[in-house]
């Protein structure tokens, strides 16, 4: 099968979701990724949730890769890694500098031994950060980068900032930037025959994603402050109850409002709202009043049907989908976003692919490498 990155070989010595995801993105795009696992298996093999003695996390993060077990503290195995690096195009790591120094895998050591290699290291705060900062975990990263403090929108000051969706949102964002920088550098390698060292800061990825918000504050065009709502937009947009879950409504224009009135059948309570209130009279009080009325109405609606009716009126209302909604969603099915892989342990699994459909090089996932007898050693589920 043709993948966009066929012909490229990457060695992955990453041991956290940030680096593993960067390499997964490239493996799913067709690169040959050889994952180096410590004796006993990669740390993510021992993280839940598990099924039949195997980590679902590991098997998600390592699709389309190959794997080899090396003890990098052992000189013979370390020499084997160097032989692999001599034949590879890139090296992906996510350990801190102390680990790199202990294993002869610093940027300078790699550049000296393998000048053609593109070498990327993803760490919480980037190279040169105080060593004790680099023990940060995902929740520390998303808090250091600002998204947690400002999520969800309109969180009152007495409610805790949130870690984001799942456990590893900041790792995945960092993985995208690491993969992007790697691919750019590999284009340069094709041209010049030379490698580069790439130092990715997970916190900086978080901050970079806020350029249109925090960037204005940095430049003095908007006021930074301690306000938890500093990233908010105002307006009535939020999640509302539906009969079978929730819908998300976003409205900013008169056309949105008139479309919504039509959808609701011109309710009496709405008569006190000027047609152009969203643009010119969007006060806190009016937003609050709207939300009370609208929530009463939306609570009686089915989330998919009412959203489709709204969309046909130009109103940006959508269902708040849950996992079970997605796999059978007609648009996801049409695009083939979930690919069923025949997993040797789990059986058939609907596996998320990538958001880009590429006409010449469609993505075809293969299961992550199994490594008997290294199933998850912490979970309680029985091996198959």
């Amino acid at each position: 099968m043709t993948g966009a990155l066929n012909g490229l070989t990457l060695i992955e010595i990453a041991e956290r979701p940030a680096g593993e995801y960067a390499a997964k993105l490239l493996a799913d795009l067709g690169a040959t990724v050889i994952k180096v696992e410590r004796p006993g298996g990669a740390p993510t093999r021992h993280m839940g949730p598990c099924h039949r003695g195997e980590s679902t996390l590991f098997h998600y993060l390592n699709t389309s890769k190959q794997s080899v077990v090396l003890d990098l503290a052992d000189s013979a195995d370390r020499a084997l890694l160097d032989r692999m690096l001599a034949r590879a195009d890139a090296l992906v790591d996510d350990h801190d500098e102390r680990w790199g120094a202990a294993h002869g895998l610093t940027s300078t050591a790699i550049a000296a031994a393998h000048p053609r290699l593109v070498h990327a290291i993803v760490t919480p705060f980037g190279q040169g950060a105080p060593p004790e900062w680099q023990i940060a975990r995902s929740i520390n990263v998303i808090n250091a980068g600002g998204w947690a403090y400002h999520s969800p929108s309109e969180t009152p000051p007495d409610k805790p900032p949130l870690k984001g969706a799942g456990r590893f949102l900041s790792d995945y964002e960092a993985g995208i930037d690491a993969a992007t920088a790697l691919l750019a550098s590999l284009l340069r390698q094709r041209r010049t025959g030379q490698g580069q060292f790439i130092d990715i800061s997970e916190v900086q990825v978080q901050v970079n994603r806020t350029d249109a918000v925090l960037g204005r504050m940095l430049a003095g065009e908007a006021e930074p402050g301690a306000d938890r709502g500093a990233y908010d937009m105002g307006g009535p947009g939020t999640s509302f109850p539906a009969r079978d879950g929730h819908v998300f409504l976003f409205m900013t224009t008169q056309a949105h409002w008139l479309g919504l009135l039509d959808l609701m059948g011109q309710p009496e309570w709405a008569q006190s709202f000027p047609d152009d209130w969203l643009e010119f009279h969007c006060t806190r009080e009016r937003v609050a009043e709207f939300r009370v009325h609208f929530a009463q109405w939306s609570a009686g609606q089915a989330k998919v049907a009412v959203s489709e009716a709204a969309q046909k009126r130009g109103v940006a209302m959508v269902p708040v989908n849950i996992a079970a909604d997605l796999v059978c969603n007609e648009q996801f099915v049409h695009r083939g976003f979930f690919q069923t892989i025949q997993h040797p342990v789990f059986g058939p699994v609907a596996c998320p692919t990538a958001p880009y459909r590429m006409s010449a090089t469609p993505i075809h996932l293969t299961p992550a490498p199994s490594l008997p007898p290294f199933g998850c050693k912490t979970c309680k589920s029985e091996p198959a």
Binding site: I135, G146, I200, Q204, Y231, P352
Partner: protein
Amino acid sequence: MPLPDRGGPLAGIRILALTKVWAGPYAGKLLAHLGAEVIKVESATNLDEMRAYGGVDRDSAPYFQSINQEILSVQLNMKTAEGLTLLRRMVGQSDVVIDNIRPGAMERSHLGYEELRRIKPDIIQLSIKMWGNDGPLGYQSGYAPSFAALSGLTALVGHEGEVPRGMNIRYGDSSVGACAALAILAALHHRETTGEGQYIDLSAVETMTSLVGDSLFAWSVTGAVPEADGNHHPDMAPHGTYPCANGEWISIAVAIDPEWQALCQTLGAGTLAANPRFATLPDRLSNRHALDAALSAATASQDASHLADRLRHAGVPAFRSQSSLDLCSDDHLWGREGYRMVSDHRNGSRPIIGPSWRMTPDPAKVERGAPLLGEHNDYVYRELLGLSEAELADLAARRVVD
């Protein structure tokens, strides 16, 4: 006049950007920050909304300037046949075309992929739409919080037991742009290997879905539907954000018992350390609500930065939850060029958020702020397309270049 050499890994790659608002321009920014020449096609009569938000002067609009550093701007009226002819000539000189304009707009302007390929056989085109370029729901449109809600991501973010309100309403566009940049680079590699271009159809909804991929994979295997779970982590306790003095918060993540002991010792919380309900990780997970309450009581009077510093030195992962004010004054980010200065037409210089990467050797220079509307008309029309000064003046007079 030729442009200055900025270096960087994408030097020599030219990208034509028919992009607006945030997701599309963000993709262009990342590629420009890697050294690509990114030409944004604009028009005074069909302006990028970001040139209008928050200011009256389209040449110093805060939103626009926060995103579009090292982007080139060429004016072109796509509503004229002559403008479209010129655009096709620009396509002929480009490696990649990015668009995130309305569904169907490219096709109506005869800029669908097959048409672009007739102009340049190995062209790469990437289109960004909420739901992708076709399909039964392709007609629907929305904004960042809409595609986050559709994707399954919003349902996973909320305080426990409350309506899942999702990430901040701004979250999403930039992540979509980042995935677009990644896909374009993959396609450039395929072109290098085979000589073949391709069409990339990017879905904003699926970008958000891919960011919760492990939760969905686990659901597919185990059948357990993931839900909004506050700050809960199945393998760590305490794991969350805890109140500190002056309305600040601290994030703490404890995985193993020695970290728990170090946390208690640093806080001087001997009663916590001795409490058998919190002695081991399984105990702490089983009693996590009581644990969070007890820990919150212990952190409430502390200074968040100072406590985080002491905890980190004791081996406990901790960091202040940073507000916009904390971020703007973050010395570490300034020291790493996470923030840096670029040129600014009005004020001489402007601080911007720099790339998340540092590269050695040969990083791309990121020195020029966002362009004036049409700042690079001369470069594009005269250097690239070879028009004379008089021809360009005539196009401007007839509003083909507007």
